[in-house]
Structure formats: C-alpha cells, structure tokens
C-alpha cells in the first residue's frame, strides 16, 4: 500500500441549529482525520451529535463553520452535483433509519448506485449482494413489507454496491439480533480488509467499537476521547 493519505479530514467543524429563538450548538470545533484503510468507531450518548457529524462528513449537510475534506478535496468548495458524483464514486452511507426508497423493491434499491454509475450486469451483482446479506428470497419485496432488520441489511447491501472507498455507517447493527448483527459486522470488516475500504461507524455497541482500530467518543458536541487500539 502507498503512504496512507487522509481520506477524511475534519477541521474546526461546528454545527449550530437555530430555531425558536434559541441556538443549539450540536458540534463544537471538532478536529480529526482518518487515514485510508482505517476503521473508526464514533460513540457517545444519544443526542451527542453523532449522526450530525456523520452527515457533515458525507456532505449531506452544510457546516456552520469549519470544513470537511474527503480525498483531499474540501467538499464545501464543491457544488451539490459534484458532491453527488463524489458520493457515487467513492462513498457509501448506511442510515440509522435505513432510508430505502419506499416505491422501489429491495433489488431495485440496491441497484440504484450502480444504475447511476451506468454499470453493466447490475442485476447479477445486486443478486449476489442480496445473497450476501441473506435476503435473496426478498428481492421483489417493497421496504414496508420487510422487517426493520431486513431493511437494515438491504441498506447495507446498497452501500456496498458501488464498492466505496469510504463507508459511513450510522448504527448498522442497532436493529439486529446477535447472530445477524455479527454477520453484518463481518461483512463490514471483510470489506475493510479485502478492498481497503475506510470504515466510519457510529454505534452504541461497545463490543463493535472494540473491533475498530480507533475509537472517537463524543459528548455534548465535543471529542472527549480519541484512542487507537
């Protein structure tokens, strides 16, 4: 492997929500960077700003101040379309609340990133991904015909489908029983190992957190711990 580069670089990042006359500072001047191939877990109590941080890193939201660079590119300097292309090319995202498109079937949901990229053999790739998450018999089901855990796995398969260099996962095992959760974890770390995908995982599960190379703990919008195993 080459000299590892900063895949994610977060610089003095703050996020303030204002509304109803009050200002709510969710993130306060956060700094950290993640090297290629690293696996990082972000932990912290509910409401501490984990999802917000992940969203900012993936360019889904605009920071109040500070900057985020992905692959050495300041994403605030990109327009929304350029960010979309960057995401499609290199970034995967697993949402805390799955975010499957309700009008598309499982297999169609998985196919979207590949369709957008204009790849060939989409269907067979999608089927093998579906197989990997153990849901090959659910291909034609719509999201609301699936259980929470099944939706979670579909969203995982979708995140894998474009072979991302960087994968953000917001509570990827939150809704899963022990066995299935373990399977999902294996999938994530396989990807990290085989493809060198950088993993950034938000989790409550301390056991999962110990499996990552690095742990960042958030509290009240600030990093209170950043430790390597």
């Amino acid at each position: 492997m080459d000299e590892p580069v900063d895949v994610v670089k977060v610089d003095q990042l703050s996020k303030v929500y204002s509304g109803h006359g009050k200002e709510l500072t969710v993130l306060k001047e956060i700094n950290f960077s993640v090297k290629a191939g690293e696996s990082v877990s972000i932990i912290g109590p509910s409401g501490s700003g984990k999802t917000t941080l992940l969203g900012l890193c993936a360019g889904l939201d605009a920071p109040s101040s500070g900057s985020v660079s992905l692959f050495n590119q300041d994403i605030s300097k990109l327009n929304e379309d350029q960010r979309a292309v960057l995401r499609n090319d290199k970034v995967g995202f697993i949402f805390q609340n799955f975010q499957l498109i309700p009008t598309l079937t499982a297999i169609e949901n998985i196919s979207i990133p590949m369709e957008l990229k204009g790849l060939k053999n989409i269907k067979s790739t999608a089927m093998s991904l579906l197989d990997r998450v153990g849901l090959s018999d659910r291909a034609k089901h719509y999201p609301n015909q699936l259980s929470g855990g099944e939706q979670q796995r579909i969203s995982l398969a979708r995140a894998f489908s474009n072979n991302p260099k960087l994968l953000f996962a917001d509570e990827p095992t939150g809704n899963l029983d022990g066995d299935t959760g373990a399977k999902v974890e294996d999938l994530l770390f396989d990807l990290n190992r085989e493809n060198g995908t950088t993993l950034i995982i938000v989790t409550h599960d301390l056991e999962l957190a110990t499996k990552t190379q690095r742990r960042i703990r958030l509290k009240n919008g600030e990093i209170v711990e950043d430790s390597r195993v």
């Binding site: 889904l60 929304e80 979309a84 990229k117």
Partner: protein, 841 residues
C-alpha cells in the same frame, strides 16, 4: 370522550397545518365563486329583462309591417285608447360633405311622443326636442365619432343637406349588435319627406306605437286580432312578447354560462377531493397514534370532518364574496353583446344558492377521502401498509358517489329544465371519466408488460414511477384529461363557428351591392362603375309582388283551409322577384325544366327556391297567381332550384322568365367588386352625390362587423373558460402535490446515493411528460367526440377540425404538467439532504 374534546383536538391538530390546506381552500373558492358569479349574473339578466322590456319596446303595443297600414286595420288601432306615435324606417346612404365621406344608414322618422317608456339620451339634452320640431338630425354617437362630426355639422340625405341636432347616446328600441351595419339617424317625418327618399319603390318599414291605459289587456286585444293583422302582413307586438323574445335569446347564453359554472365547480370538486386526500394522507400517522391511544374510528373521522367542514365553510364564504365581485365585472365582458346595460345588484338568492349547492357538492367530494379515516388501523404506528389511501370497499363511499351523481343531476335539471339534457350531460361526464380511468389502467398494464428494459436508467426510472406504489397516474390522467377535454371542446366549437362565417369572404366574390336604382338610372350607373374600373358582376331587376291564389283558390280561401300544409308566412310575405333567362352559377337545378323566356300570351313558367317551395307546399306543375302591384298574373311552377347561401350573390325565391315583367314597376340592383377600400370610398361618394336615392352597401364591412361580433362572443366565451382553466390548474397542482413530499424525499435519497440534479430532473421530466402527453391526447380525443356531437346535433354545422388550437392546447397541457412536476423538485436543491431525511421519523 365528549364533543368539546373532539372539537378541541380538531383545532389543535389543524394548528400547524393550515398551509397544507391552501389548495383545498383555493379549489373551494374558485368553484364557488364561479357558481355565484354566474348565478348572480343570470339573475340580474332575468331581472333586467323584466325591467327593460317596456323601454326596449318603447310602448305597450306596436304594429309593424313593410307597407302603410290598410285603412280598416288603422280604424281598429284607432279604437285603442291612449297615446300613439308612428315610425317610418328605411335604409339609405348618407353623404358627409365635411369630409367627403358616405355611410349606409338607417333612417327612423318619428311622429309623436315616442318612446313612451324609456327615453332618448342625447347630447345636448335639448336635441331630443329639436329633432322633432326642426329639420335637425339625431345621430348615433358612434357614427358621429367615426366621421368626427359634432352638433351643427351637416349630413346630406337624399336631396337635402340637414343639420345635426345632437348625438344619441343610448340604444332605444334595442338596436343591439346589428346596429353596427347601419347606424341610426332619427328625424321628423316632415324632414324625411323633404329628402325625396320616400318613393314608390323604396323599402320602408312602418311601425305604429300605442301607449294604452292600464285597464286594457293588450295581449288579449292582440290575440283576438292577430289573424286579421297577419293576413295583411302586419305584426303586433306587446311588452310580453318582447320579454319572451329576450328570455329566449338569453336562454342559450344562460345555459352556456351555467354549464361553464358547473364545469368549474366540478373541477373544483376534484381539487377538493384530491387536496383533502393529500391532507389526510399526511395525517395517517397521527390518526394511527390517536387510535392506539384509544380513540374510536368514528371519533377520528369526526375530528377531521370538523376541520374540513369549518375550513370548507370559510372557503365557501370567501368564494361567494369573490363571486359577487366578479359578477360586477361580467357585464363589462358581455357589454357589447347585450342590448341593454345590465344593472348589477347583489343577488342574495343566487349567493345563497351558490353557497349551499357549492358547499353540499364540495362536502360530498371531501367525504370520499375523509371516510377512509375510519379504516385507518392503529397497526400503522408499527408498520405502514402497502395499500395506502382510501379503501374502496366501504359501502358509505358508494353512497357518497351516488349522492354526488344525484345532486349534480338535480342541479343540471334546475338550470336546463330538461331531464334528457341533464341525463346526457351526466352520462357524458361519467363516460369521459370512465374512459380516462380505463385508459390509465391500460397504460399501467402496458408499461409493466412491455417495459423497455434496455433504456437508460433515468428513462426506466421515470417510466416505472408510473406504476409504482402510490403512483398518481390515474388521478392525473383523469383530472388532466377531463380539463383538456373541456378546454379543447370550447376551442373546436368556437373555431368552427368562426370558420363558417369567415368562409363568406373567400375568393373573387363581389363585395359591393347597389340597390334602390331606378330603371332610368341603370345605364348611367353602369357607365360610372366602368369608369372606376369595376366590373358589373350582376345587374338584377327586382319586382315586388304577393301571392294572390293557388290552384284556382284565392289566397283567403287557401289561408282559411284547415287542412292547409303551407306556412302562413310563406303565403303572406311580400316577395321580391327577378326575371332572367339563365340559372345563376350559385344555383343548381334540382327538379323540372328551367324556362328562360316566354312569348306574350303564352303560359308563364316560373322557378322556385326548393326551400320556399317546401314552405308553400307546392309542386312542379302547380298553378300560382300573383298580384303584381295591382295586376294579377297566373303562372305555373316549372322548376326548383337549390341556392348556395354562402355565395355573395343576390338570391331570389322566385325567378320569372323573360317576356313577362319587363314593363312592371321595378327597381334595379347592381353587384360589383371594388379593388380596394379607397376606390370604394371614392366610388360611393360619387354615386351618392349623383344618385341620392341609390344605396351602396359594402359587404366586406358587414363581414368585418360580423367578425367583430363573433370575436366579442369568443372573448366572452374565453373569459368564462378561463374559470375552468384556472380551476384545472389548481387541480393539477393539488394532484401533483399528492405525492410531493414522497417525491422530494426520494430525490434527496437519490442524491445522497450520487444522482446528479440533471438525472433527477430527467427522471421526473420523463414521468410527467408521459402523463401530460397521454392525458392531453386522450382529452383531445374525447373533445373531438364531444364537439362532433355538439356541432352536428346542436349547432347544425359541418364538422371540420382545426388543428392549430388543438396543438396549442396539447403543448400547453404538456408543458404545464412537466413544469409543475419539475417545480416540485426544487426543494431538493434548496434544503440540505440530512434535514429532509430526518423528517420522516
């Protein structure tokens, strides 16, 4: 749980949601305002007809005819108590020395204090008196403006140059839209006599006005003497006749306006149903939570029912207020088409009626989605169902559908008064609905079956949006299709009417007619016409005569025969006859032999117009005796002709052969063609100066006036159609918004997965273009059927399609659909994706 709790919940629940009901309110407002405006306008017309019939007639009773009243009838009239007045009316040329202009005018010579009801509004006010006592003229104000004349200037009529006493600013006697052909000049009978225009051959209409004291029932008086008068071709009219005529004339307008109102209301109703549907859909989760916490299905229904009813009531009132306001504007739109100024008053009964009806119908439509609330299960809090929206197996829903059809039918019946018409309209509407519905089903089926798997992703995505869960294909196809059908039917019918008139103007048709020519003037006139380099297209002698007998019976025996099949007017009328030895090229011989000339003493063979022969019920070989200015002439029908009425030629019901009428008293008509307006003006001035008794009529200006009137009508029609279009757009918006929230989220997700803005736009453009194209096309096809039926069976016109308006309608609907669809995705770029994604949980 008690009522006050439910009301409180209803208000609390609606608190943050008013914005979502904007489209609901807009639909109600538009629907009801159209209804109230049109109802009030119609009410005012009816009231005004009652008020104005007296002043439009100007008297209690009028006897009219195209000859002076015979002595015995005059004695009968004289026996009527009260005041009387007479009017002589004739058409003539007026020459304006000031600017060397000339104009075809209608002269009305008044003797007596006419009008008895209503009054002449003149400038100066004294002109109303001056024109009766001096040789001054009271001239139509439009005419004065056109020639830049004022009181004191002069006009030459016949042999006299006469001063203008003032302008006439209103329209007594209801000259109406026809007055544009020949503006009116009022003058005293003495003055008219002095002009030498009243001569043996001139066509004068006589009117005898009576103001009778109230004790006498003029309608009774009329019904006893109507026959006697009509035998002498004199017609009696009373204020009641006038009212009935007006009502009849306005009936068509009324029905049309009412149908427009109904269509707007219907579109409004669709808007109401779909906007309430959106609202309820957004509420489904809250409702499920209420149900989880122990609320009964009917209580949940009641909460939203209450919300919708309160807002519906408020919207209806705003609609009624707006409608009353629009009602003030309507008379201005129609002002050029009405014979009198409509007074706009607040028509409380119409407002009330519009309010009730609108409210009932919109409530019924709102019930369709509202009833669905009763079926929302608390299970939804855990898992949302695949089949969203209103369940269809609810018997109450069918009851609501039934009530809608019944109330529409009753309303239609109340405005048309015809069970058949109402039934046809309702059935037509249902058929259109059904066709569009079936078509959308078919479309969805076809797309699934023949899905183009190798198209690019964005097109496939857009296409498959048409059949995915929660698609809006059906509601959009039905509402858009119906809207398009209505719009293009209006365009087609209007275009056909205009085209039928415009076809008069084509080709090398002659455009100028001279009439009132005396036989000794004809050679000089022909000479003058050639000097202007204009062709003498036709030179026609005219002899007036009446029927005196048929098949050996006298006219009175014929009329008295109770088994008679001939029409009274056809027997009684004064006939203008010509004689020639050929058939015109605008005519076609359809039966018998045309006889061109006869020798003195031989039997006389004449040719009849086919339609006139039918009305007289005479056949080839029948004997008809004519009274030609006192001399009896016996003839035989030898041929029947069909006349092409669109050709710009003189046309005659009866043609005599050469060799009979040459010596009878007659006058001549000359038909020519002027190359330009300038030449025509110069020619006209010259003719009028040399031959004051000759009238030069410019046919192209008549056509222009006719086209003016038609364009005013089509403007009024379009104004009314605007109501429907506006409501249609609201419906379009609300049906698109039906899934806006879902669509925005979808697009945001696509963006987080890496779709570019252009790709998202293409997906939606594909989807809405297909919907727009198909609904516009179906709507236009439906409108072709509807307008064909209308044109063929109601208007008796030849059906032909004008493609341009249809193409315009098509592109209008398609681009409107696509733009509205794309407009919905604007949130996608404006809001941060994370914010949108957070929203749903």
């Amino acid at each position: 749980m008690n009522i006050s709790f439910l009301i409180k919940t209803a208000l609390l629940d609606a608190r943050t949601q008013w914005g979502k009901l904007v489209l609901f309110i807009a639909s109600i407002i538009l629907g009801i305002s159209a209804l109230v405006a049109i109802n009030s306008f119609n009410d005012n017309i009816v009231a005004d007809i009652d008020n104005q019939s007296a002043s439009l007639l100007g008297a209690d009773l009028v006897v009219t005819g195209n000859k002076a009243i015979p002595v015995d009838l005059a004695t009968m009239l004289d026996s009527l108590p009260g005041e009387r007045a007479t009017e002589h009316e004739l058409l003539s040329m007026a020459y304006i020395p000031k600017n060397d202009g000339s104009q075809f005018v209608r002269l009305k010579a008044i003797e007596g204090a006419f009008p008895f009801y209503g009054e002449f509004l003149t400038t100066p006010a004294s002109a109303n008196e001056t024109f009766r006592k001096t040789n001054g003229l009271l001239v139509d104000d439009g005419f004065l403006k056109q020639f830049k004349l004022t009181a004191g200037d002069s006009i030459k009529l016949g042999t006299q140059i006469l001063p203008i006493a003032g302008s006439l600013d209103n329209n007594p006697g209801g000259a109406g839209i026809g007055s544009g052909f020949a503006p009116t000049i009022y003058l005293s009978l003495e003055t008219l006599k002095s002009t030498d225009l009243m001569q043996a051959g001139s066509m004068i209409d006589y009117a005898y006005f009576h103001q009778v004291n109230e004790a006498l029932d003029v309608d009774e008086w009329k019904s006893q003497r109507r026959r006697t008068f009509s035998n002498e071709s004199m017609r009696i009219r009373t204020i009641n006749d006038q009212r009935e005529n007006l009502e009849e004339a306005f009936n068509a307008l009324n029905t049309f306006l009412n149908l427009v109102a109904l269509v707007s209301l219907l579109l409004g109703c669709i808007g109401v149903a779909s906007s309430v549907f959106i609202y309820i859909k957004n509420k489904v989760n809250s409702i499920a939570v209420y149900r989880c916490l122990g609320m009964k299905a009917n209580q949940a229904f009641f909460i939203y029912f209450l919300q919708i009813m309160i807002i519906g009531m408020l919207g209806s009132m705003v609609g009624a207020a707006l409608g009353s306001f629009i009602q003030v504007v309507l008379p201005k739109v129609f002002s050029d088409l009405l014979p009198f100024a409509i007074e706009t008053t607040i028509a409380w009964p119409s407002i009330f009626q519009g309010l009730t009806l609108g409210f009932v119908i919109t409530s019924l439509f709102a019930m369709i989605p509202l009833l669905g609330i009763r079926k929302i299960s608390p299970l939804r809090t855990i898992r949302s169902n695949v089949e969203e929206g209103a369940p269809t197996r609810d018997p109450l829903i069918y009851m609501v559908y039934g009530l809608i059809v019944i109330s529409l039918f009753l309303y239609l019946f109340s405005i048309t008064g015809s069970l058949l018409d109402s039934a046809i309209f309702i059935i037509g509407l249902l058929v259109a609905f059904f066709v569009l519905y079936l078509f959308s089903k078919l479309l969805i089926w076809a797309i699934r079956k023949y899905f183009p798997r190798n198209w690019s992703f964005v097109f496939r995505q857009g296409l498959s949006n048409l059949y995915r869960p929660n698609n809006q294909t059906q509601i959009l196809l039905v509402t858009l299709g119906l809207g398009t059908a209505i719009l293009s039917t209006l365009f087609i019918v209007q275009g056909l009417i205009l085209e039928n008139v415009a076809s008069f103007d084509e080709g090398e048709q002659p455009n100028t007619i001279l009439f009132g020519i005396e036989t000794n003037q004809i050679e000089d006139l022909k000479q003058k016409t050639r000097e202007f380099d204009m062709p003498v297209v036709e030179e026609v002698p005219i002899v007036t005569m009446r029927i005196a007998g048929w098949q050996g019976r006298t006219k009175s025996e014929w009329l008295a025969d109770t088994t008679r099949t001939a029409r009274r007017w056809a027997i009684n009328r004064e006939i203008r006859v010509t004689y020639r030895d050929t058939i015109d090229d605008s005519e076609k011989l359809i039966a018998g032999n045309f006889v061109g000339s006869v020798n003195p003493g031989d039997s006389i063979f004449i040719s009849l117009d086919e339609g006139y022969a039918e009305n007289l019920d005479v056949e080839i070989g029948d004997e008809i005796e004519f009274n030609v200015q006192g001399m009896l002439v016996k003839t035989y029908v030898s041929s029947l002709r069909e006349i092409d009425f669109t050709s710009m030629r003189t046309r005659f019901f009866i043609v005599f052969p050469l060799g009979v009428l040459e010596q009878a008293p007659q006058f001549q008509v000359l038909v020519t063609k002027s190359p330009s307006e300038d030449v025509l003006n110069a020619y006209r001035s010259d003719v009028v100066k040399t031959f004051p008794n000759v009238s030069v009529v410019d046919l192209s200006s008549i056509l222009k006036t006719l086209n003016d009137i038609l364009s005013k009508i089509s403007y009024a029609v379009q104004f009314m159609a605007g109501f429907s279009i506006l409501t249609g757009i609201i419906v379009l918006l609300s049906s698109l918004l039906l899934s806006k929230f879902q669509r925005v989220k979808e697009s945001v997700l696509l963006r987080t997965l890496g779709a570019s803005r252009a790709q998202i736009l293409k997906i939606y453009a594909t989807e809405y273009a297909i919907i727009g194209i198909l609904s516009a096309a179906t709507g236009i096809i439906l409108s072709l059927v509807a307008s064909w039926l209308l044109v063929t069976f109601q208007l008796d016109l030849e059906f032909r399609i004008q493609y341009l308006p249809l193409i315009l309608v098509f592109f209008f609907i398609v681009s409107l659909t696509v733009l509205t669809g794309l407009w919905m995705t604007k949130d996608v770029v404006q809001k941060s994706p994370l914010e949108t994604l957070r929203k749903d949980v």
